[in-house]
Symmetry: C2
Subunit: 145 residues, 2 copies
């Protein structure tokens, strides 16, 4: 038997739904307007910049950015076109490939980061008390296995 959501639960659920959508719409808009980039592609650059040697296997990168392998292939192709990422053959596993952040990509990320962080603050961080924001993080972390 389905346990329906209580009115309170329903409100919470919708708030979660809409809060997320609103925050993301702002971030997507900012990145698209200022740098003509989708947020997912920005995230790829971030992950690569944090990785050792600024490179990751395609599948690690897919997992890190929670995107499908297919999406990642396309995204990396785009970023390769911009000269921000380069593919490199994997010596150990000849099926494999590394995505490597180029110097140009690193520089681009450095250019974009301030605007993005400002947007994250404006859309999320600065709209909550420090405690509430910390709680939000803690609760969301619990949702992730």
């Amino acid at each position: 038997m389905t346990r329906w959501l209580t009115p309170d639960e329903q409100r919470s659920w919708r708030a979660f739904l809409e809060a997320h959508r609103q925050v993301f719409a702002q971030l997507e808009r900012q990145l698209a307007a200022d740098h003509d980039l989708v947020h997912g592609d920005y995230e790829i650059l971030v992950r690569l910049s944090e990785a050792a040697d600024r490179q990751l296997r395609m599948s690690e990168l897919a997992e890190a950015t929670l995107s499908s392998r297919s999406r990642l292939s396309h995204a990396v192709a785009r970023l390769e076109g911009l000269g921000w990422v380069r593919r490199e053959a994997c010596p150990d596993d000849r099926r494999g490939a590394y995505a490597v952040l180029t110097d140009g990509g690193h520089a681009a990320l450095a250019r974009m980061a301030p605007g993005h962080v400002d947007a994250v603050r404006a859309a999320l961080v600065d709209r909550l008390s420090a405690d509430d924001f910390a709680d939000l993080g803690r609760i969301c972390a619990q949702l992730l296995d």
Copy 2:
């Protein structure tokens, strides 16, 4: 000067990012697998079912579902194709149009709702204590103007 995110803030921000993505991926998957529907279209049906006379102006519906007018046009076209929604001319404003939930659409929603609620519980509600879930709702509500 950009105020960078502190490591704690960064963690919270990413948890929010990923929690949302994970929850939504599950919902999208369930609706797509069981009913071949994207979540956005499901939401349109929900909003219509809650509206007086089960109908809304296209632009009200767009706002309620936080989607662009264009997206809504396409989505309603899809739902019209399924026989779940019907467009109706607006008497007061001849530019306008109503989207109306048909009986078939209402029945379809009734069929889909239990599975969807189960999925929402599995992905979100039941993974948190009641208090945490309530907090999550409260905090998210604060993000919405």
